[in-house]
């Protein structure tokens, strides 16, 4: 194997040499011919076979020597400015292949070289950084999924075991059974959401754009939560422009409203206020959903559209951290825009902007 690479290297070297030889020969022949023919015309020198052949031999050796010097020079230059950085980059890439996402390639010093390789190195480092952050996300994601899935299962298993005790008083039996029902309901919601999100993420879904009455849709979605807000005695404030139409995918957008309303109602304390406003201008329809709930800190705000991320772990029992990921996905697919304003302890406002005419 080693011998083989050696032969290959020698062949390569000869190849380089040959290229340089041809190049130098071409240049020198052209120059000499021009030079000699000019001389002959002006000085009227006659050329004999003997002195041509002597000059030709000398020139040939000259060409050979010059090519050799060029080849050696080029090989050294190549080693320093190309092979070294390439080697560093490939070594780092090997490490990434093996799963080490912490490697970074040092940029070359700029003296004497062009910065092509530095551009590659910059790009490479960016890629490595991105990979390492997705890797942490993935590990977090797996940890979160298994936590979310296993907790309700554990609850059900435990209470199931408890229910098997003989002579269990009636009130305990009812309590345990209720705990099992609640846990299974949570699990069911979670699985429904995972399946929905999976569908949105993995299948090429083409949104069905149709013009429809947005005001009506949002109102109907809000009315779906009537029981929930009555239970919490929330005040509902509405400022709705009638008959605002948009061109979007109605079924997907209803996912957005349902999740935003569900969150607003979930995170607002008793007797709080949830407000809805729908406004429009020529280009956009703007839906604002505000609550007077616990608010979102800037740090949580950055990650709240991530899957399974929950701002406040004490709210863990109420949700599964997929709602806003679903919302974001739909917003992206339909080409709408969502923004959040929030103040801790005061409340949150989600603003969704939908283009009225998607061309």
């Amino acid at each position: 194997m080693k011998k083989y690479t050696l032969i290959k290297r020698i062949l390569k070297w000869f190849n380089h040499y040959f290229v340089f030889f041809l190049l130098v020969a071409f240049v020198i022949t052209c120059c000499t011919m021009l030079f000699v023919s000019t001389l002959r015309e002006t000085l009227e020198i006659t050329l004999t076979d003997a002195n041509i052949s002597a000059a030709a031999k000398l020139t040939f050796w000259n060409v050979a020597l010059l090519s050799l010097i060029f080849t050696v020079f080029d090989t050294v230059r190549r080693k320093l400015t190309v092979e070294r950085p390439v080697k560093r980059i490939t070594e780092a890439a090997e490490k990434i292949v093996q799963g080490d996402f912490t490697v970074r390639v040092k940029p070359q010093n700029k003296l004497g070289t062009d910065d092509t390789f530095n551009r590659v190195i910059d790009c490479f480092n960016k890629m490595a950084e991105e990979l390492s952050s997705t890797e942490t996300l993935r590990t977090d994601f797996v940890a979160n999924v298994s936590h979310e899935l296993k907790t309700p299962l554990a609850v059900m298993q435990n209470y199931g075991t408890l229910l098997q005790q003989p002579n269990l008083p009636d009130e305990n039996r009812v309590e345990y059974a209720k705990a099992i029902t609640d846990a299974s309901r949570r699990l069911a919601n979670l699985i429904t959401n995972i399946l929905k999100l999976n569908k949105l993420e993995n299948q090429q879904i083409i949104p069905q754009f149709e013009e429809y009455d947005l005001s009506e849709q949002v109102c109907e979605c809000l009315l779906g939560f009537e029981e929930a807000w009555e239970k919490k005695e929330l005040d509902i404030k509405t400022d709705i422009e009638d008959g605002v139409t948009v061109k979007s995918d109605a079924e997907m957008m209803s996912l957005v409203w349902n999740n935003l309303f569900s969150n607003a109602i979930k995170f607002t304390e008793r007797n709080g206020t949830v407000s809805l406003s729908i406004k429009s201008d020529d280009d956009y329809a703007v839906v604002k959903i505000s609550d007077t709930g616990c608010g979102i800190s800037a740090e949580v705000g950055k990650r709240m559209f991530d899957k399974f991320y929950q701002g406040d772990t004490s709210h863990a029992t109420q949700g599964n951290g997929l709602g806003l990921a679903l919302v974001k996905r739909v917003i992206d697919i339909t080409g709408s825009d969502i923004s959040v304003e929030s103040e801790l302890g005061k409340g949150t406002t989600f603003t969704v902007k939908i283009r009225r005419n998607t061309i």
Partner: protein, 223 residues
């Protein structure tokens, strides 16, 4: 006692739904396949059918289609794992009255069955009674304690709709779409005018109340 037929191929789910319904005061019969359901229906008259979609041989859609050719009025409720819009659309097209996605909440099932049976009764008797207030949809007349209350046709229809679905809020647009011509020039606020008229005409009625829901729409609440 109302008789309910449950068609569901998962034995455990079928059994749990049936025993829940039996405990809730209905008489439930469970069938694992549509073929079995046809046999049972031959012998007994049911008041309501609960059916799955994904079943071997004859699926829910086909089952409902067949049932609808024999009985136009029996309330049918789909209980299925399929939550895509296409399935819902197809379900309502073949003639189901309600659609629930698995895993279903048994308490909610109970409420929906109650509402379905109530509406079926209203539809079959063409009469609606709330406390001392009666509406007859054949004669288009309304009575409070036996005295007729004059209502215009549209007022009557609006009220009949609200009382057929008590506690359900209808948006103005939903009501407009149903009771006004499509090319009407009046805005959705016209509904408000009608509601005000209805309230004043029924001011002496204390069996129910028409409630405005936060600028979203209207509902009837039975007291």
């Amino acid at each position: 006692m109302f008789k309910i037929l449950v068609v569901e191929d998962d034995r455990e789910l079928n059994r749990s739904v049936c025993s829940f319904l039996n405990q809730s005061g209905y008489e439930a019969t469970g069938c694992l396949f549509a073929e079995e359901a046809y046999d049972v229906m031959y012998e007994t008259v049911f008041d309501l059918i609960i059916s799955d979609i994904m079943m071997p041989n004859i699926d829910g859609f086909e089952f409902v289609k067949t049932v609808r050719t024999l009985n136009e009025n029996i309330p049918i409720l789909f209980m299925t794992a399929r939550d895509d819009f296409a399935s819902k659309q197809r379900g309502y097209r073949v003639g189901v009255d309600d659609y629930m996605v698995k895993p279903i909440d048994l308490d909610e099932l109970f409420l929906r069955i109650g509402a379905l049976l109530r509406r079926a009764k209203i539809a079959s008797s063409r009469r609606l009674e709330v406390g001392n207030f009666t509406m007859d949809s054949d004669e288009h007349t309304a009575y409070l304690d036996g005295d007729e209350i004059p209502l215009t046709q549209r007022e009557f229809n609006l009220l009949y709709k609200l009382l057929s679905y008590p506690k359900k809020t209808f948006t103005r647009t939903q009501l407009m779409d149903e009771f006004w011509d499509a090319d009407t020039e009046s805005g959705t606020r016209t509904v408000d005018v009608y509601m005000t008229k209805l309230r004043s005409k029924l001011s002496s009625c204390d069996a129910f109340e028409i409630v405005t829901v936060h600028g979203l729409g209207y509902k009837a609440v039975i007291k």
